[in-house]
């Protein structure tokens, strides 16, 4: 760079107020951009992490979530006999038949009676636990099979009224006691309540299962098991890898967030670019004399162009850094919302990843580039004599 970078940096510092305002505009845009991407990322990551790559979920064909799916006992037994199902060292088949329903619970903190959410109650078997290595008890204990005891994911214990340890819930004309709280990390299970599948089926009078989950003996055997399930005329079922299954459940909402977020961001970014343009045009106008002087001294047009572009790129860089800085604090926030697709409660965190940082920074630099391009051209194309005269 022929014109020293300190020239560009110091000029930004000289017009501090303008620089701060322009940078703030860009930072805001980058913040919104990053936050949206972080939200969509957090949503998808939570759901994808909910599944294990070596687990297979079997559900009724055409249903978009476990709540809508129903598998009769007969059909479940057929799936149970599949050769691809893993068998542990005790000879136990690593397969579980589960039932999933939604119950309406009142959220913590909101006084309005209408602040409800639909929480997943999952009836599980003993085999369900080894299939979900992410799940760990953090307080209390596991419920006893055959009883009206339940355990609750920690997002639910925290976010909803009356469902902490020792809390009780009433449904199906029975009282259920929370005997334990579990942590499933940042996965969907943390937003669930678990109980004995037979008890749950009885209480809700649902004589059918919602899904069957099993672990693959061998990862490569997924296509074979999928084929076996889907082509069997006795079954009206579909199979997916657990990770894929949960990823699909995030699609509608992730897509919504991305479209809404990105279109708003683009509109805001136009505003930020205009702000940068005004700032840079004004900067050029105030330094006509300097530009003439530098050209007289022998600096080329392209050197002048580079110097002013450097200034606007710096604006973009600083704006991007500030925006990302504040966006990173969003990682402490947990979003509690209903997944549009499954209609059930899901808690997830804003998640910042390397690619998001890169995208946000590039976006910011591009804003700086576009905003500064025309003014930089104007600066470089000045006539030396006229510029000196105007000084």
């Amino acid at each position: 760079m022929a014109v020293p970078l300190s020239y560009s940096i110091r000029n930004l510092w000289q017009r501090r107020l303008t620089t701060i305002l322009t940078v703030s505009g860009m930072a805001l845009v980058v913040f919104v951009f990053a936050a949206i991407l972080m939200m969509a990322e957090g949503l998808q990551k939570t759901l994808v992490d909910t599944g294990s790559y070596d687990n297979v979920v079997v559900f009724r064909k055409g249903s978009t979530s476990e709540v809508m799916s129903s598998i009769e006992r007969k059909q479940a037994s057929i799936v149970e006999m599949l050769p691809q199902v893993a068998i542990d060292h005790n000879g136990r088949r690593l397969l579980a038949k589960e039932v999933v329903v939604l119950i309406s619970l009142q959220k913590q903190g909101d006084e309005k009676a209408s602040a409800h959410s639909n929480v997943v109650v999952r009836g599980v078997e003993e085999n369900s636990i080894p299939l979900r290595p992410q799940v760990k008890m953090v307080s209390g204990r596991m419920f006893r099979m055959g009883s009206s005891e339940i355990i609750v994911g920690n997002s639910i214990a925290k976010g909803f009224k009356g469902v902490g340890l020792q809390g009780t819930l009433n449904w199906g004309m029975r009282t259920w006691t929370v005997v334990g709280v579990f942590d499933a990390g940042n996965t969907g299970f943390s937003s669930e309540i678990w109980g004995d599948v037979d008890q749950v089926m009885q209480a809700f009078r649902r004589p059918v299962y919602s899904s069957v989950i099993f672990k693959l003996q061998n990862l490569a055997e997924f296509p074979a098991s999928k084929g076996a399930i889907e082509t069997d005329p006795r079954l009206t079922l579909e199979a997916k890898r657990e990770t894929r299954y949960y990823l699909d459940q995030s699609e509608m909402m992730a897509k919504f967030l991305r479209i809404l977020g990105l279109s708003l961001t683009i509109i805001f970014s136009i505003g930020a670019i205009i702000g940068a343009m005004i700032t840079m045009y004004s900067a050029v106008a105030n330094r006509i004399g300097e530009i003439g002087t530098m050209r007289a001294l022998g600096f080329h047009r392209r050197n002048i162009l580079a110097a002013f572009l450097a200034e606007s790129l710096l604006l973009g860089f600083i704006g991007g850094s500030v925006g990302l800085f504040f966006a990173s604090f969003m990682q402490f926030i947990t979003v509690s919302t209903v997944n549009f697709q499954t209609f059930s409660e899901l808690a997830f965190k804003f998640t910042l990843t390397g690619p998001i940082i890169l995208q946000a920074m590039s976006f910011s630099l591009v804003m700086g580039l576009i905003g500064g391009l025309l003014p930089a051209f104007r600066a470089s194309r000045m006539n030396i004599v006229e510029a000196l005269r105007a000084a």
Binding site: A2, M294, L297, G298, V385
Partner: protein, 235 residues
């Protein structure tokens, strides 16, 4: 004796007009003259006479419509804009009426600025700049910004900047125009020294007769024409 003095600048049949839309306003008509190496020339004339235009053409920051200008061995009228920029960086030192220092750069950085166009290292640049500032007696103020310096000091920094690349010619456009009498004297004395002791060729445009007095040769322009050829300074 009779040391054949070299012509450092040769101007032949220079013609320049300004174009405002469809209006053509000639400013210089058929200018022809030479400048010898080591000369201290003052160009005088009423406002609108074209003296600044002539200076601009000499310095390569404007292009003539017709005619040729040779500086050193270079016909600068044949150079492209990029080549001219490169040429200016190596052969011309500028001294402006309003100093034209970059406000956000310190004195030393202002003097260093033209050196960024050379291939000198950072240390070499710094050394050259310090030397130039020392020559104008301002090395103790090298870390000051222009707004912290008086008019006279700023012009001295500008002079340091003008000589730091050891240019072929120094052009000065009303160098004392914005200075009080004392500072003006200082600057003119400095320019005289540069000319006498370092053999710098200086072409100065001025309408201040006191400034013109310090030059060795005087030329007059009026309405675009050189009026008196080769007249020696009546000092």
């Amino acid at each position: 004796m009779a040391e054949q003095k070299q012509n450092i600048v040769e101007i032949r049949h220079l013609y320049k007009a300004y174009h405002r839309g469809s209006l053509v306003v000639p400013v210089l008509y058929d200018i022809t003259f030479d400048i010898v190496a080591g000369e201290f020339l003052a160009l005088m004339g009423p406002s609108g006479s074209g003296k600044t235009t002539l200076l601009n053409l000499l310095a390569g920051i404007d292009k003539a419509d017709e005619g040729s200008i040779r500086v050193g061995d270079m016909d600068i009228t044949a150079l492209s804009e990029t080549e001219l920029a490169h040429w200016r960086a190596n052969h011309v030192g500028f001294i402006f009426q309003f100093y034209n220092l970059i406000p956000v750069l310190k004195a030393i950085e202002n003097v260093e600025l033209p050196l960024h166009l050379t291939s000198l290292s950072k240390k070499e640049r710094r050394d050259h700049a310090e030397m130039a500032l020392r020559m104008v007696g301002l090395d103790h103020r090298m870390d000051h910004y222009p707004k912290e310096l008086s008019g006279g000091e700023q012009q001295r920094v500008a002079i340091a900047r003008a000589i730091v690349t050891d240019p072929t010619i120094l052009v000065a456009d009303e160098p004392t125009g914005d200075l009080d009498r004392v500072s003006a004297e200082e600057i003119l004395a400095m320019m005289e020294r540069l000319n006498a002791e370092m053999g710098k060729t200086i072409i100065m445009v001025t309408h201040d007769p006191r400034a013109a007095q310090r030059a060795k040769i005087l030329r007059h322009l009026d309405k675009g024409y050189l009026t008196d050829d080769d007249s020696q300074n009546p000092l």
